[in-house]
Amino acid sequence: MRLRLLLLPALLATVTLSAATLPEDRVEAMYHRYDGGGVTVDGPALFARRHITNTVSAAAEYYVDSISSASIDVVTSASPYSEQRTETNLGLDWLYGDTLMAASFTHSDESDYQSDTYGLSVAQDVFGGMTTISMGYAHGDDTVERVDTDFEDTVDRDNFVLGLTQIMTPTLLATADYEAVLEDGYLANPYRSARILGAQVPERYPRTRTSHALAFSGIKSWSKDTALRGRYRYFTDTWDIKAHTFELGISRYLGERWTADLSYRFYTQDGASFYSDDFDGEYNYMSRDKELSDFDSHALGGRLTWSMNNGLPLGLDRANLTLSYDYLRFDYDNFTDIRNGDLYEFSSQVFQLYFTSWY
């Protein structure tokens, strides 16, 4: 909770569907590490998928975040801490004709935040397989606590997802994605403080939030061994946050066994209407969460994958080993480091070591 850990990526995974075929039987294992801004998060993740019948496939995932935090929020208003979050995800996929349906359950647990999420989704190929249309819904029940008091509150979440993938030409694929998130409950952080004329006071947030995200992307086969990709996302919500995300990437085979990926991501955000670095008086809603401020971020990433296609043990068909690295840079326009009075900025790094195999 103190790091505002969210379930959205896992939730979205429940609706990452490709119609007309079941996902392949596959295992995945990853070690991940984030380091920057006084925060270190690392841990393992495991995933397995297996056909039960010709039309039904089951999947399970286990994910761990071990967090050690002395972030700017923590060092200016609390004490450094360590905690662990575990997440378990179970899913079933059912293929019926050209329609793929999926159901999932996700449980996330940490010392001061528990969450259960139930998801349903459906994807359908239409127009001779030229188009895949998908839609999904998920409901979440969260419990928010504070470890040093008996504070407890709840959050209800509803996610609605629509997706469209379209074959444009023999070498160009386009997608459009929309997601609405409706939240109702305690949406603040029970540990964080706002400031009024320099004095720290508890944050006060609205108890509802509705957001809309619309994304468009394209993937172009540039040559037999090279693909280019681009993506844009627009985001807006009832807290008056507006954000734009731009992503560019290139993937290229380097011989028979190696694949390289390079990517760049730019994100810019106008902050929430009730955010202030230092309020001039008391207001109904007050936040000093830097994630709700005005800021830009840049991310430069690279991946190198080694493919193994034969001689694998345990009946494994083929496997990939991937090393991934991202460099992230955040520059805040109206969030001050109160230790020195300068606008806050930080950089961080993300490492991922990943193994996947099909069987």
């Binding site: 997706g163 694929l173 955000q269």
Partner: protein, 73 residues
């Protein structure tokens, strides 16, 4: 939101009743079926990367393609 969902369902039903001739035939989709054309070749890596941004930014949602495949299987 309800209106948007109903419109989407109507489009889905309409699509099921309509005969549209594919302008890219299945035998022309070899390049699209290549793994490097996948919207998410390494799903776990991409979900974790999206999670890293989600917890540090105000925006959320539509982070990975919901559409998925290219209809080339």
């Amino acid at each position: 939101m309800k209106r948007l969902c109903l419109s989407f369902i109507a489009v889905l039903c309409f699509a099921g009743c309509t005969r549209v001739e594919p302008w890219v035939m299945p035998y022309e989709r070899e390049a699209l079926a290549d793994p490097i054309m996948s919207t998410s070749r390494d799903p776990m890596l991409d979900r974790h990367r999206a999670h890293v941004f989600d917890v540090r930014e105000g925006a959320r949602g539509a982070t990975v393609s919901q559409g998925g495949g290219c209809g080339c299987n």
